[in-house]
Amino acid sequence: MLAVRNLVKVYPGPVAALQGVSLDIPSGMFGLLGPNGAGKTTFMRILAGVLEPTSGSVHLDGLDVLANPDTLRASLGYLPQDFGFFPHLSGEAMLEYLLKLKGVGGPRGVRALAGELLERVNLAHAAKRKVKDYSGGMRQRLGIAQAIAGNPKLIIVDEPTAGLDPEERLRFYRLLAELAQERTVLLSTHIVEDVAVLCRRFAVIRGGQVVALTSPHEARSQLTGKVFEGDVSPEQLEEVRRTRRVTQAVLVEGRNRVRIFEESGLCPEGFEPVSGTLEDAYFLLMRAPALSASAIA
């Protein structure tokens, strides 16, 4: 169990990136969803021990990780949002180097383990190639390989599917799901689908505050019978925006396809009822003036 209490981070400026975040993150996959600039990466970096908070506490299974960062790092797998490797090393050599620094070994030695991990992330064919020649997706997979090395109790992955093609994304989903069976995996993303597919529970963060703590199923069920979709002309769109709670509006073949949320459940003229998605819930939360009590567990 990862227990976060009143985490505050203020950058010089001063700019408040986190405004007292408190969360209890159980074992398994947990998602952190929010728009760019919401404070997700700051939160993840603090948990990973690479950034000091202004105040607050973080405990992993009772251990104060802010006071004992070295203990945390021995049981941490971290995939940052923005990272790189030594360009002069091959993928295998880079991974071997990181395994040695982490003190991770295997029954057949570090090199063999590095090879097996590369195979796990579908990178065995490029093991001998220099990292500088890797594509963005390959670098991401190498990052994943180092994050899962050494049986970490806690895995923190920040925007992990960015740069992965659909096939790799599915493969990575499976890998994360397997890992989450035995440990806490904290996944930060702004891609709603990542959370919908992977997470039993997730928190939505906005402006450095947690605005919802729920599950994909709960979030969707709150919308049952309350989401409607219809086509409106460009002239009507502004009127709809003023009078309705628009969750999404996309331009399809010259017409605006609009999804709206109606608390009353009454279908407006020209609209038809549709199933609410996690994206609808997310957009509603992002624009809600206050926490939706029903959405918070």
């Binding site: 950034l51 790092r73 940052p80 890992l179």
Partner: protein, 442 residues
């Protein structure tokens, strides 16, 4: 990954700090030896040493010329090797060492590798000291190679033309100058460059210290020695010379003692030069320590802010407006009435020049270099002496003529620095991906 497979991995924290430092140092050592710049240095050392063995290259600081008649001064004497090591350690090695050591951490930072390294058990101090030890060890190996080359070409390989210039082989003639002169010089250069590079993460500043010290040495410490200078002041200047050149020149070479002396005697390493070497070695290590400490403090950014700033930030964040839904999405770009017409050559060049001037004005190094240059030129002009050690009357013409060369060197170096930095900026900031697609005449 299945449970059985993950369970087969184990985390071993035994060995701890020393083991991790060793891993980093070993990697840096191997990387440094693979660098083209090290191979360039090795080729230069090879050519210089080969040239010396053939008599086409001479390295002398003021005496012991082996080309004149009479008894020849040996190129294998301890005096000769000390001169070689003094000149090359500071005049040649410095630039290679400074580039390799100073950019070591900056390179990893630019590769964005530090974020992952910071999340491993590797401590910032282990990482930084490991880097320094690795790069220093690589250059000490180069010195060993250099000594081996000197022994091979000057003593071992037969050369009938140079027989008169070769004395009996003595290993100490090669080893002692390398240990007393080269090792401290290299560790000083490596330490200062590494400390500055690691502490500031500004690549341009890495070269500032070696260049400034080199200029100070070349145009003042090694050359300025009027007859009226007192012995104590002269010894103070010897002590202040990081290369040890002034001590060697003033003690043994200024007055020629004859080939017999240089061929048969050994350099007397008095307490002044020993203290000098230890001092500059300590300066190098102290600068490294400073850089490592600063790096460790900033590696896991704490961003210290006052309680008042925290309150202000939290209050303004709480008052921030909510995200607005889909505003303006339907507004056509046509309403902006944008026009597009590529600029001509002059307009483009003028725009680029203005942007470059603004960038240049924001460079901290410029405000360090320019005063240093002015100080050096003015200082030199004031202390100009004539043929009979009399002060010279300073006229504009005299000033221009005497400082023209030095000024040209300084200005050229500045232009090289900032020219290269300017060309590299787009690549380093990754702006080139956008910049190269602009309708701009290159």
């Amino acid at each position: 990954m299945s449970t059985s497979q993950t369970a087969s991995m184990r985390t071993d924290s035994s060995g701890g700090s020393g083991r991790r430092l060793w891993i980093v140092a070993r990697d840096e050592f191997a990387l440094t030896l693979r660098r083209p710049m090290v191979w360039t240095l090795l080729v230069l050392l090879f050519l210089i040493t080969w040239g010396m063995s053939e008599g086409v290259v001479q390295i002398v600081l003021g005496s012991g010329d082996a080309s004149v008649g009479g008894k020849k001064a040996f190129v294998t004497s301890q005096f000769a090797v000390t001169q070689i090591m003094t000149v090359l350690s500071f005049g040649l090695y410095t630039f290679f060492v400074a580039a390799a050591a100073g950019l070591s951490v900056i390179r990893d930072d630019e590769a964005r590798a530090l974020e992952i390294l910071n999340s491993t058990p590797l401590r910032p101090t282990e990482y930084a000291w490991g880097k320094f030890l690795g790069v220093s060890a690589a250059f000490l190996l180069v010195v060993a190679f250099h000594v081996a080359l000197l022994i091979l070409f000057l003593s071992v390989l037969p050369n009938a033309d140079m027989q008169e210039s070769r004395g009996p082989f003595a290993l100490t003639n090669f080893l002692v100058p390398a240990l007393v002169i080269s090792v401290p010089s290299i560790l000083f250069s490596a330490g200062v460059a590494f400390g500055i590079g690691t502490g500031t993460r500004r690549s341009i500043l890495v070269f500032a210290a070696p260049i400034a010290v080199m200029m100070l040495c070349a145009f003042f410490l090694w050359s300025w020695s009027p007859a009226w200078l007192s012995e104590s002041a002269n010894r103070a200047l010897m002590f202040a010379d990081p290369a040890g050149t002034r001590w060697l020149r003033e003690t043994y070479l200024e007055v020629d003692r004859g080939a017999e002396f240089y061929n048969t005697q050994r350099v007397g390493w008095e307490s002044l030069i020993v203290a000098n070497r230890l001092l500059w070695l300590a300066v190098g290590l102290a600068t490294t320590w400073w850089g490592v400490r600063r790096f460790a403090r900033t590696a896991r950014a704490s961003h210290r802010v006052s309680a008042a700033e925290v309150s202000t930030a939290l209050a303004s964040a709480a008052a921030a407006p909510l995200p607005v839904a889909l505003t303006g999405a339907a507004a056509s770009l046509a309403t902006l009435q944008m026009t597009a017409a590529p600029h001509g050559w002059w307009a483009t060049a003028w725009g680029g020049a203005k942007a470059e001037a603004r960038e240049l004005a924001s460079r901290a190094g410029l405000y360090l270099f320019v005063p240093l240059i002015v100080l050096q030129l003015v200082g030199n002009s004031i202390t100009l002496i004539g043929a009979f050690d009399t002060p010279l009357l300073l006229t504009p013409g005299q000033l221009a003529a005497s400082q023209m060369q030095m000024m040209a060197v300084f200005v050229t170096l500045l232009l090289v620095f900032y020219g290269v930095e300017s060309m590299e900026r787009e690549r380093a900031t990754r702006l080139n991906a956008i910049h190269d697609t602009l309708p701009v005449n290159t």
